[in-house]
Symmetry: C2
C-alpha cells in the first residue's frame, strides 16, 4: 500500500464535504452518537469550545453582562403565546410528554422493556432557544426604569430536531450562548446590539483568525420578530458563507408579547426595548472549514487545547531519560515563564510509546511541534515544526532563541492564518453591477460572493435567491454609503451594496 500524498483523503478539491468529516475524525474532535442527530464532542474538540467560551465570556463580562441559568424545559403555553406573535416559529422540537419509566420484563425473551408512564397534563419542549422563558423572567424582574438595563447571558445546550445533521455545523443538540438584554430606550438597545456584534467580529478575528464581513440582514433574512439583525459572515474554503454569529434588535415586539414593561422616569408605563445575540458550537465547524488543509485540522493558537506539543525522540534506551528530562524541563519553562495574550502557554509532552506521533499532531492541528533527540540535548537545540508551514518543513533552532521568540512565533502563526483567510476571501468577492453577469456568475462551480448595488424589494430578492440558491448574506456595514450606482434589478441609483453568496 503506497502512502497517500496527503494525510486526509479525500482532499478539499476532491470532495469538500467528505474532507470535512475526515478532518474531524482524524483530529479526534467528535463522533456521531446513537442519539439521532447528536454528536459526542471528544476532548480535543471540547477543548476548543472551552477556549471559545473563556474568550467570549471575558468579553461579555467586560461589557457589563452577567451569566444566569434558566430551565431546560419550556411549558407549551409559552410557545403558544409566542406563536401568536411570530410567523415561521420553530416547531421541530423535542417534546417531553411523560415523567416516569416502568421496567417490564418480557416473559418470553427475558428482556426488560422500559415503558413511558406518568403522562404530563401539560407537555414541555426542550428549549430550542430560551427567548420565551427568559422573557417571562424579565417580565418579573423589570418593574422600574431603575431595573434597566438588564444584561443577561446564558451558556446552555439547546435542541432542534434537525433532519440533515452535520457535525458542529448543524446538530440536533448544540451548545451555545444566548445574550438577552432589556433597555429603557431604543437608542440604548441599538447601541447594545451593535456593541455585541462588534464583540463577535473582534473575537472571530483575534481568537479564531477568521476575517468576517459584519453587516445587516435584509428584511427577508432577519430573525422573525426582529427590527434589525446584524450578522458576521465568514467565507470558508469552498467559498460558501457561514453565518457565524448574530445580534438582534427586537424593538418592543417581544417585550409587548411577554409583558416586559416598566414605570418610566415620568411615571408612565413603557415597554422595554430588547436585544438578543448568540454564537454556538457552529463556530468550531466554521473554524475547521476556514483554516484546515489536506493534512488535517489547523488551529489558531488562542483556541488550541495544546499550543505546543513536545515529542521526545528516544532511539536508544541509554539516552532516553536525558531526552525526557530535557523535554519536561522545556515544557516547565514554557508554562512558567512565557505568556501568550496574558495566559500561560499550553504545552504537552507526548511520551506515549506509539508510532506516528508527528502525523497525529499534524492532523490535530497543534500550532507548534517540537522534537528533541539525544544530540539536541547536548547542543541545546530543538527541531521546530509549524502547522502554518508545509508539514515536512523543519527548522533546527537554539533553545534559548526559541524561548525568547516563542510568543512572537505563535502570534505569527495567528497572523498568517488570518492573512491567508483574508486574501482568500477578498479574491473571491467580486463587484458586479449588471444582471447578466450576475446570472452567469452562479452557474459556475463553487462560485464566490458578489457585491452588487442594491435597492430592490424583498420580492425581487426572493426571486433571485430561489433561482440561484443564494441569499443576500448581508448589507456590509462599511458599504452603506458608497458612490451612487444603478441598482442591479431596478436600475435606480443607490448608495447601498448587498453581498450575495451560497451558504451552509
Amino acid at each position: 500500500m503506497s502512502a497517500p500524498k496527503t494525510a486526509i483523503t479525500p482532499t478539499r478539491a476532491d470532495d469538500f464535504p467528505e474532507w470535512y468529516q475526515q478532518v474531524i475524525k482524524a483530529a479526534d474532535m467528535a463522533e456521531n452518537s446513537e442519539t439521532r442527530g447528536c454528536m459526542v464532542i471528544k476532548p480535543w474538540g471540547y477543548g476548543i469550545w472551552e477556549l471559545i467560551q473563556q474568550g467570549l465570556d471575558r468579553r461579555f463580562k467586560e461589557t457589563g453582562h452577567q451569566n444566569a441559568y434558566f430551565p431546560l424545559l419550556i411549558p407549551l403555553s409559552y410557545l403558544e403565546k409566542e406563536a401568536e406573535h411570530a410567523e415561521g416559529f420553530a416547531t421541530e422540537c423535542a417534546v417531553v410528554t411523560h415523567h416516569r419509566l416502568e421496567a417490564v420484563k418480557d416473559e418470553e425473551t427475558g428482556k426488560t422493556k422500559m415503558i413511558p408512564t406518568g403522562e404530563l397534563a401539560e407537555p414541555y419542549v426542550i428549549r430550542p432557544t430560551s427567548e420565551t422563558i427568559i422573557g417571562a423572567a424579565f417580565s418579573r424582574w423589570v418593574q422600574s426604569y431603575r431595573d434597566l438595563p438588564l444584561l443577561i447571558n446564558q451558556w446552555a445546550n439547546v435542541m432542534r430536531w434537525e433532519m440533515r445533521p452535520r457535525m458542529f455545523l448543524r446538530t440536533a443538540e448544540f451548545l451555545w450562548q444566548e445574550g438577552h438584554t432589556a433597555h429603557e430606550t431604543a437608542e440604548e438597545a441599538i447601541e447594545e446590539t451593535r456593541k455585541m456584534h462588534k464583540v463577535y467580529a473582534d473575537f472571530l478575528r483575534d481568537h479564531l483568525a477568521i476575517p468576517v464581513i459584519p453587516g445587516e440582514k435584509t428584511e427577508n433574512e432577519r430573525f422573525p420578530g426582529a427590527d434589525m439583525t446584524l450578522t458576521v459572515e465568514a467565507m470558508v474554503q469552498d467559498k460558501k458563507a457561514i453565518q457565524a454569529g448574530t445580534s438582534h434588535y427586537l424593538g418592543t415586539n417581544f417585550s409587548k408579547a411577554q409583558d416586559i414593561s416598566f414605570t418610566g422616569r415620568e411615571g408612565s408605563v413603557e415597554h422595554a426595548h430588547t436585544t438578543s445575540w448568540g454564537v454556538s458550537t457552529r463556530l468550531i465547524g466554521t473554524l475547521i472549514m476556514a483554516h484546515s488543509d489536506d493534512d488535517g485540522l489547523v488551529l489558531p493558537p488562542r483556541v488550541a487545547t495544546q499550543q505546543i506539543v513536545i515529542i521526545p525522540i528516544t532511539p536508544k534506551e541509554d539516552t532516553r531519560d536525558a531526552v525526557l528530562a530535557s523535554c519536561h524541563a522545556l515544557a516547565t519553562t514554557l508554562r512558567k515563564d512565557c505568556k501568550f495574550h496574558g495566559e500561560p502557554l499550553r504545552v504537552l509532552v507526548d511520551e506515549r510509546d506509539v508510532k506516528g506521533k508527528k502525523w497525529e499532531w499534524v492532523k490535530k492541528g497543534a500550532p507548534l511541534r517540537i522534537e528533541i533527540g539525544p544530540r539536541d540535548v547536548e547542543s541545546r537545540k530543538l527541531c521546530l515544526q509549524r502547522r502554518d508551514k508545509p508539514s515536512n518543513d523543519k527548522e533546527f533552532v537554539d533553545k534559548e532563541d526559541f524561548l525568547r521568540n516563542v510568543t512572537d512565533i505563535l502570534q505569527e502563526i495567528h497572523d498568517n492564518l488570518l492573512n491567508a483567510a483574508t486574501a482568500f476571501r477578498d479574491e473571491n468577492i467580486v463587484e458586479c453591477s449588471d444582471l447578466e453577469s450576475f446570472h452567469k456568475h452562479w452557474k459556475q462551480d463553487n462560485p464566490g460572493w458578489l457585491l452588487t448595488p442594491w435597492c430592490g424589494s424583498s420580492a425581487e430578492e426572493d426571486a433571485l435567491s430561489k433561482e440561484h440558491k443564494i441569499t443576500v448574506r448581508c448589507l456590509p456595514l462599511d458599504k452603506q454609503d458608497e458612490p451612487e450606482q444603478a441598482c442591479l434589478v431596478t436600475g435606480k441609483p443607490t448608495k447601498l451594496r448587498a453581498l450575495w453568496g451560497r451558504s451552509y
Copy 2:
C-alpha cells in the same frame, strides 16, 4: 412598622427550612420557575456556581482529566440494558416521545394550541446521569491497554423528576459534573476513586470553608452497582447531614454490562475497572446552610462573585464626584495590584442611587463592604465592614494599611468561617457506645450526629435507620482502626466506627 432585629425573617432558630428559602430570596440567588421543580438561577447564585466550576475544573485538569460532552438524550435501549444489571434503577425521568409541534388555531377562542406530533419510534429520556451513554462511548474508545487510563469529565445539566423540590438542594433539573474513568487494574481505579474523593474534601475546605467528614458508605448506602462509595459529609446548621460529593469505585460491574473491554499486556481480553464521581449545584445549598446567619447569606471569599463591595457615601452634590473618583481609584488598585489565591480581586463599586445598599450587600453575603464618604477622601481612610463580624460592626482604617492587608483579611474571613463550622460540627458529634443512649439521642429535636462502634449487618443498620429516620452517613476514613470497642448492636469487639445522622 418597627424594624425586625434580623434582616431575615424567620430566624434559623424559628424555622430553619423557611429561613433557607428567605435567605435565597433576600440574596437574589434563585427563584422558582413555571417549569415544575425547576429554578431560575439568578446572576448572584450563578456566579457562585461559576467559581465552583473554575476551582474544581482546575483541580480536575491538574489531576490529568479532560472534559468532553455527551448527548442530553439517552435511548431507552441503553436504560433497558442497565436495568437488567442494576437494582433500584432511577425511573423518575423526563421522557421525550415526539419531535414536532403543530400550531392549531382554536376557532372559538381564537387562541393557538400547540399539539405534539411526530411520534418517535424509540423514545428518549433526558439524562438523569450520563453513566450509560458515556459507557457506550468508552466501549468504542477502549480497545487496548494503551488506551487506558481514560480520564473524562463532563459539566452538564441533568434531570430527575423530583416530587418535593427544594431550591439548590433537590431540583428536577440541576447542574453538575460527572467524572467517568476507566483503568487497567483495580488498584489504579481505587487510587483514582480515593484521589477524587480527596479533591472534593480539599475543595470544600479550601474554597467553600466547609469541613467535611470523608468516609466510606456502608453497603446499604452505596451507589447501586458500586463496589465502594466514598462520600464527603457536611453538617449544616440544623445539624442535618448533606452528602456533598461522592466518588465510586465500580469494579468491573459497569464495564461488563457496557462491554468496556481491552486487549491486555499479555494479549488476553479483560474488562476495564471504572470509577465515577460527581458534585452538583447542591453544593450551593450546602454552602448556604453551612454559613449563613439571620442577616442572610455569608459567602467565603473564594466563591463570592464580588469579594469587596465599595459603597460611595454622597450626602452632598458638590463632593459627589470626588467620592466617586476615590471609590473607583480604590477599586482599580485592588483589582490591579492585589491577588487572592492567584486571582485578581473581584471588586464592585455600587453607584446606584437607591436606599438600603448596605443591607442589600449584607443579605447577599459580600465578604467585605467598604464605605467612603467626603471626609474619608481627605483623610485617606475608609470604613471597613466584614461579613464574618456582626452586621453593624465597622472599623475606620487607613487606606494604605487596608491595601497592604486586604488579602490577609479575606483569608481571615475564610478561616473564621471554616473554624466556626468546624467547631459547630465537632460540638455536635457525640461518641455513643450503648444502644440505650443511642435510642434516646434521636428523640431530641435537631439531634446531632453519633459516632458508634459498629460491625452490624445491613439488616441491623436498616432497622435502626427506619426506626429513627437516620442513616449511617459514613464510616469515617480516619476511624477505621480505632481501639477495640463492643459493637452497638452485636456486642462483638470492633475497630470500626460508624457516623449516624439525619440528612437532606
